[in-house]
């Protein structure tokens, strides 16, 4: 596997996540082509784009979960390997089998495995961290529930609790609002905003264009290539949406989306 990261450390030292010239391919067709992205510190950044645009791939490549064809990634100005512990990844909920024999607390404790290593026993402190993470997502009463018996929204909350237990500085979430109820959506966005206020950086793949303006301060639009990135007010424009989504969004629809953000 050929990976180029000799220059990873030299990218923007301020940015929690800086990407240069990232290309990824699963087959002949590239899923991402020469993408540059610089996430602003302490921002809440939405990654938007049509289905199959490479949004999930972007997060996975940034984390080294899928190999890069080319490009560099730096985390807080340093190589990924040395800064992994500062990142918490929340994969798409549908990416795992929820019939796995584990309860809610087992899954949240997985967020501490990096810290615990192979053989150290689970301590009181670990349990307290897990409990606190569950309380933050309003799931403290479900610690002993089998994960297969949770609703979609509850599953998303415990994925988030697992990430919170990591106590990271950069949160990378893949469609955290997909298939969740309205109450969960509100709870998650409140929590993410609290993280931002506490000096963390949040990057989320987001599929609902009507809430981009209300939820996020920065946005990156991609469709295999990067279309635009920057503050929502400057970048979330009709022209960019047209470019990212092609003919898939009518102009009238886009106007409505933009208005939705300005209530």
């Amino acid at each position: 596997m050929l990976r180029l990261h000799q220059n990873d450390q030299t990218l923007d030292p301020q940015s929690p996540l800086a990407i240069r010239g990232l290309s990824v391919s699963y087959g002949e067709k590239p899923a991402l082509f020469s993408v540059d992205l610089t996430v602003a510190p302490y921002s809440m950044t939405a990654i938007v784009g049509p289905n199959g645009a490479g949004k999930s791939t972007l997060l996975k490549a940034a984390l080294g979960v899928v190999p890069r064809l080319s490009g560099q990634v730096s985390i807080f100005g340093r190589a990924l390997a040395s800064e992994r512990h500062r990142i918490a990844y929340v994969p798409q909920r549908a990416s795992v089998d929820w019939d796995f024999p584990a309860n809610v607390r087992d899954v949240v404790l997985m967020g501490l495995y990096g810290k615990m290593g192979l053989l150290r026993r689970i301590s009181r402190d670990d349990l307290a961290i897990a409990e606190d993470a569950l309380a933050q997502v309003g799931m403290q009463d479900f610690a002993h529930r089998q994960i297969g018996q949770l609703s979609g929204g509850q599953q998303q909350r415990i994925f988030l609790a697992r990430a919170l237990a990591q106590n990271a500085d950069l949160y990378l979430l893949d469609e955290p609002f997909a298939g969740v109820d309205a109450a969960t959506e509100a709870a998650i966005i409140t929590l993410l905003k609290k993280l931002k206020d506490a000096g963390k950086t949040v990057v989320a793949v987001h599929h609902d264009l009507s809430t981009v303006t209300a939820y996020f301060d920065h946005v990156a639009m991609i469709n295999t290539r990067l279309i635009a990135q920057g503050p929502v007010a400057q970048v979330f424009t009709t022209a960019h949406l047209q470019e990212a989504y092609g003919g898939r969004l009518a102009t009238a629809q886009i106007d409505r989306l933009r208005e939705a953000g300005h209530y």
Binding site: A81, D99, A102
Partner: protein, 305 residues
């Protein structure tokens, strides 16, 4: 049952059956959860050419040479699958099908070549093993269990399987966290920096080790059954992985001991005068246990969604 008969004739095969069953059931839990349960079946096909080759090279039924050959064949298959997957992007199931069938066919061809030679190696033995023949000739009764001279003549399969089982248990304890995490959520595990490909390769290698060691003693039918049945039945009894593992060990033990006894004495009890194959009966019992848990297991609803 008196000791003078039971200890030399029945105790070793029962113990060997139990050890083989547990050694396969432990990795089986993870293979079933990863939906790779058929890998046990596959491995037992793949090892055939390795065993035959070892036999052709050494011209003897030397257990260690055959184990080595089988292990090498399993490793070769696993690496082949990985290489083809990365080069061709074909779905893993299809690749496994091709690699395993090819290697098995190669084994059969080699086997035909070997049948010309002086020592005989037959397919039935590979399939069913010969549990009943693993007897302890030096034993005179229960007292022999404390007699070092008699103990030294226990079938070597017993100590080999015991060693394998200890190794598997130690590996399972050490790598419990990475193994469970990457089984549940591979992407997340990788984001933490865990070497998920090495972990999944390691699991298959451990399964191959269990399969190869057990295969030599008890044949491939038990191997295939024990990778799947105890773990699948255990999943229907509990919602926690740790207790699922314990249940699977219990079911493996029950299948091996009950199966052996039923094979030896069952036909006599219903008035027939022949015993049936222990390997076949053990596999059947494990299947029956799975069927019972599927009907009565407390957690059977959870897995239907």
């Amino acid at each position: 049952m008196n000791g003078a008969e039971f200890v030399p004739l029945s105790l070793p095969p029962i113990l060997i059956g139990i050890l083989a069953a547990i050694a396969c059931a432990l990795p089986g839990n993870f293979l079933v959860l990863r939906k790779q349960a058929l890998i046990g079946d596959a491995i037992s096909h793949v090892v055939l050419p390795g065993i035959v080759l070892a036999f052709l090279v050494t011209q003897a039924l030397d257990a260690w040479a055959m184990l080595l050959g089988a292990g090498a064949a399993a490793l070769f298959a696993v690496v082949m699958i990985d290489v083809i997957k990365r080069v061709s992007r074909i779905e893993v199931g299809a690749i496994m099908g091709v690699v395993f069938t090819t290697l098995f066919a190669l084994g059969v061809l080699l086997l035909e070549q070997s049948s010309a030679s002086s020592v005989h190696l037959d397919v039935e033995h590979a399939l069913m093993g010969n549990l009943e023949s693993l007897i302890w000739l030096e034993a005179r009764g229960w007292a022999s269990l404390l007699d070092p001279v008699a103990l030294a003549s226990l079938p070597t399969e017993l100590s080999r399987l015991a060693l394998t089982l200890v190794l598997i248990v130690v590996l399972l304890i050490i790598f419990w966290r990475p193994l469970t995490l990457s089984t549940f959520d591979e992407g997340y595990a990788e984001s933490l920096g865990l070497p998920v490909r090495a972990i999944s390769l390691g699991l298959v290698m451990v399964a191959a080790l269990a399969a190869v060691t057990a295969f030599d003693a008890v044949g491939s039918i038990i191997v295939i059954a024990m990778f799947i049945c105890p773990a699948a039945a255990a999943r229907l009894m509990t919602d926690r992985l740790r207790s699922q593992i314990w249940w699977s060990v219990g079911f493996a033990t029950l299948s091996a001991s009950l199966g052996y006894v039923l094979a030896g004495y069952g036909p006599l009890w219903i008035g027939l005068d022949n015993s049936v194959s222990a390997a076949g009966m053990i596999a059947t019992v494990s299947g029956l246990i799975l069927a019972l848990t599927a009907v009565l297991g407390p957690k059977r609803c959870a897995t239907t969604t």
